[in-house]
């Protein structure tokens, strides 16, 4: 069986096809603007940056959202976003200091105080290649979709708030854009179009996109990080931060996919104040997954399924259509039948391929 797979991977897509495809996508995204992503009637939740971190944690959990923009009411400006990574770092920082995750600590720290502390922390710990910015990363409603996508990729974020501030007396928060909606726009364009792009029908394992275990697909050099369910939550959180990934597949002893732990699952620790009662080192991943199951959050679910899967033989178009579904950020490539994990393809992987970024 490995020989058959090797044969498939040697049928690489011709460079000319890739080039035509990239040109087409580039043109499509350059002519459309962020305004088109806005739904007819949409809702955005924002937080005052002077809210205590604990309350912010609970709001995100109760509203079932992973990310919220931060408004500094004194300045009258949006100054950043609160994301799951912030909570992961806060919990790790508090547990590193040896104290129990006392509720008082989280209650007294405001979000803005945390963001300042994070700046100090980032000088001590090498977390990301990007410099920590005090500038809000945002897009205007008439920026092209190409600019919005590049902003998301280059700043390694999941969402970008769309804020109308040019020519306005105060900034209008309109929407939180992510690569998912841009992918939906692209798929809509190709679905019934007769533009001939043979690359769309190529098997995904022949295209240099995604992270794969060896010998199956074109590896991008990154190691595919996976964990067992009985490993500690703190190891999962450490891996999420250090490997700069947003989700880790949880596998059994035969490397078969059971579930996935994502950064956004951290908010499920707010259920019944679980974060205050546990030690990150003691809690097991399967317990954290159970907590998430009990929470009301539907974020990250599509049609009731948490992990979206595909086969290595699926076409590029099919993979793109799956990634365009709301709430889906990554696909786990599994072996048919056994669910053995072969690779992961995320939205940012595909967009990096579109723009020929590393």
């Amino acid at each position: 069986m490995p020989d058959v797979l090797l044969q498939e991977t040697t049928l690489r897509v011709p460079e000319a096809d890739i080039g035509r495809f990239r040109d087409h996508i580039f043109e499509l995204l350059s002519t459309r603007t962020a305004y088109e992503l806005l739904p007819d009637s949409g809702k955005v939740i924002a937080l005052d940056s002077n809210l205590p971190v604990k309350q912010a944690f609970h709001i995100l959990y109760e509203q079932g959202i992973p990310v919220a923009p931060l408004l500094d009411t004194y300045k009258g400006e949006f100054v950043g976003v609160l994301s799951p990574l912030d909570f992961i770092l806060i919990l790790k920082a508090l547990s590193n200091h040896g104290s129990n995750l006392a509720e008082e600590e989280l209650e007294s720290h405001t979000i803005s105080a945390w963001k300042e502390a994070k700046q100090h922390l980032s000088r001590q710990i090498v977390m990301h290649q990007r410099q920590s910015q005090r500038q809000l990363i945002h897009a205007e409603p008439y920026d092209s979709l190409k600019d919005v996508a590049l902003k998301i990729l280059q700043n390694q974020v999941a969402t970008v708030p769309i804020i109308s501030s040019r020519g306005e007396s105060f900034p209008h928060l309109l929407y939180l854009a992510s690569l998912s909606e841009i992918m939906k726009c692209i798929c809509r364009h190709f679905r019934h179009s007769s533009v001939s792009l043979p690359i769309l029908q190529q098997a995904i394992c022949t295209i240099p996109v995604g992270t794969w275990i060896q010998r199956i697909g074109e590896s991008n050099g990154k190691h595919l990080a996976m964990l067992r369910p009985n490993e500690s939550l703190s190891s999962a959180l450490a891996l999420l931060v250090q490997a700069q990934v947003s989700s880790i597949p949880i596998i059994d002893d035969h490397d078969c996919l059971l579930d996935a732990y994502s950064r956004s699952d951290i908010t499920s620790l707010a259920k019944d104040n679980a974060y205050a009662r546990i030690h990150l080192d003691d809690m097991r991943i399967y317990q954290a997954l159970q907590l998430r199951q009990e929470s009301n959050s539907h974020y990250g679910f599509y049609k009731g399924q948490r992990c979206q899967m595909c086969l290595h033989s699926d076409s590029l178009q099919k993979v793109m259509e799956q990634l365009a579904n709301p709430g889906v950020r990554r696909l786990f490539v599994v072996e048919a039948g056994s669910n053995r994990v072969e690779g992961i393809i995320s939205l940012s992987d595909v967009f990096r391929f579109f723009f020929s970024l590393a």
Binding site: L38, D40, L51, P141, S193, S194
Partner: protein
């Protein structure tokens, strides 16, 4: 519906209908029906939405009227009475079909259309009315290429969006949206009444004033999309009357945090922003 009336006239008979001709003379580029007709002949439209049927309102809510077909638009209908054409076979998974009108205004006797909706396999006749030809297609949301066959010749219309495909030939492009965009120009600005005749000499409210029961909230303000749990309901367009009103979450008075909500319009889209703020007690 305006276009419904137009179709009736097409069936009644083309060149001899003077009223239809006079309208088409007014705007030679497309089938043009006056706006007043469209409101009069609307039957069973707009569709009753749950939010509206529950309201104790007397006034009629604003109805977004689809924009009239113009040179730059792909014209579209939004009438629930149209049913899917039985001979329409669409490949692939079933998606909600949206009625869309395709028109040809450059003469000819027999006009057909073929397109990428069924991968160019079939051609459909357009119905003729005088010099204009039209067909109603029901298509899922997406982007399509199509061509006209006018008296046996492949043609495209420069009135509607077109592009060259990779092979050097020109096709028209149809972008079918699954919503009716708000026609922003048709919304007239609310004329603010002048300030009432009074001076700025009123005294500051005292505790007695605050003890009085505040006036009741006008019932139409209860139609806010805030607090709607069901996401289907919440994605309906908000009533214009609740725009730019600041709402506060009930029960916030005892907590250290308050939730404020505001719905406003940005171009043709509506945005509801909820802000959580700490409150100093």
């Amino acid at each position: 519906m305006g276009n419904v009336s137009g179709r009736d006239e097409i069936e009644d008979g083309g060149d001899d209908d003077p009223s239809f001709r006079s309208r088409s003379d007014a705007d030679p580029g497309s089938i043009h029906v006056s706006r007043i007709r469209s409101v009069d002949s609307a039957e069973g439209w707009p569709p009753e939405s749950p939010g509206r049927s529950r309201s104790p309102l007397v006034f009629a809510p604003q109805i977004p009227v689809p924009p009239l077909p113009g040179a730059g638009d792909a014209p579209r209908l939004f009438n629930q009475q149209w049913v899917n054409e039985p001979d329409q076979s669409l490949d692939g998974p079933f998606e909600k079909g949206i009625p869309t009108l395709i028109t040809w205004n450059h003469g000819g006797n027999v006009v057909l259309v073929e397109g990428s909706w069924d991968n160019w396999t079939s051609r459909k006749h357009l119905q003729r009315s005088g010099k204009d030809h039209a067909i109603l297609m029901v298509l899922p949301s997406g982007v399509y290429q199509y061509k006209f066959i006018v008296d046996g010749q492949l043609r495209y219309t420069p009135d509607l969006p077109f592009a060259t495909d990779g092979m050097g030939s020109i096709t028209n492009i149809l972008d079918v949206h699954d919503y009716v965009p708000e026609n922003v120009e048709s919304i007239s600005e609310f004329n603010l009444p002048p300030s009432p005749n009074s001076s700025y000499s009123w005294s500051f409210p005292t505790n007695e004033d605050f003890a009085k029961v505040p006036p009741a909230v006008p019932p139409q303000l209860h139609l806010t999309v805030l607090g709607m749990q069901n996401t289907d309901e919440a994605s309906l367009k908000p009533q214009h009357v609740v725009l730019n009103h600041l709402f506060i979450e009930k029960g916030s008075s005892s907590q250290s945090m308050v939730a404020l909500g505001l719905t406003h319009r940005f171009q043709s889209k509506y945005v509801t922003v909820v802000l959580y703020k700490p409150v100093n007690r």
